[in-house]
């Protein structure tokens, strides 16, 4: 099955700094990748996605980078704000399965 992992379980950044959250996956056939944000007491919420035919995609203050050679993706958050404090998951789609990584807790300090 798919193995999805994260390099860092927790990340603390100062408000205004940029944040980078990393994720590794194992199945080279995976073709769709999603980043989710989960705030306390809520369900995961979609942030941004990327397909395997791309290596970079940008949204509002967020950028996802995909390196298929090393099976790695990252989420970059620009000018991190207190409202960005949450747990972030990468998820990898394979057929009907959406498999999640273990999550990184992002803490934004003033």
């Amino acid at each position: 099955g798919e193995s999805v992992g994260l390099h860092l379980p927790t990340l603390s950044v100062q408000e205004g700094d940029n944040s980078i959250i990393n994720c590794a996956y194992s199945n080279s056939a995976s073709d769709y990748f999603i980043w989710y944000k989960q705030e306390s007491g809520k369900g995961p919420q979609f942030i941004i996605d990327i397909r395997s035919n791309m290596d970079k995609r940008q949204g509002q203050r967020v950028t996802v980078l995909l390196n298929k050679t090393v099976k790695h993706l990252s989420l970059q958050i620009a000018a991190t704000q207190p409202g960005d404090s949450a747990v972030y998951f990468c998820a990898v789609n394979s057929g009907y399965a959406l498999n999640f990584g273990k999550g990184t807790s992002l803490l934004v300090t003033p």
Partner: protein, 113 residues
Amino acid sequence: DTAVSQTPKYLVTQMGNDKSIKCEQNLGHDTMYWYKQDSKKFLKIMFSYNNKELIINETVPNRFSPKSPDKAHLNLHINSLELGDSAVYFCASAEVGGRVEAFFGQGTRLTVV
């Protein structure tokens, strides 16, 4: 106008009881999921249904029985509850077999005492 709604939000019950969690989506999606999130926040897929048919059963004990009466509903029934079943259970839905973003419900926190 909640897209994916689960009930109840909290459920406290004794070991050995049987309980159900309901899920409904109003997005017209074909695919629905149940996930279990443990105390370490790990989200593990339990089941995936597509057009009312079971597609994925990730080695979940047969005490857990999902039921999909129609495409918009995927309920989860749990028999003989155990302490280890305590977790947050999330329902989600997606279209096109999950090849686009999945939408999650608010979760059901199940506590078995």
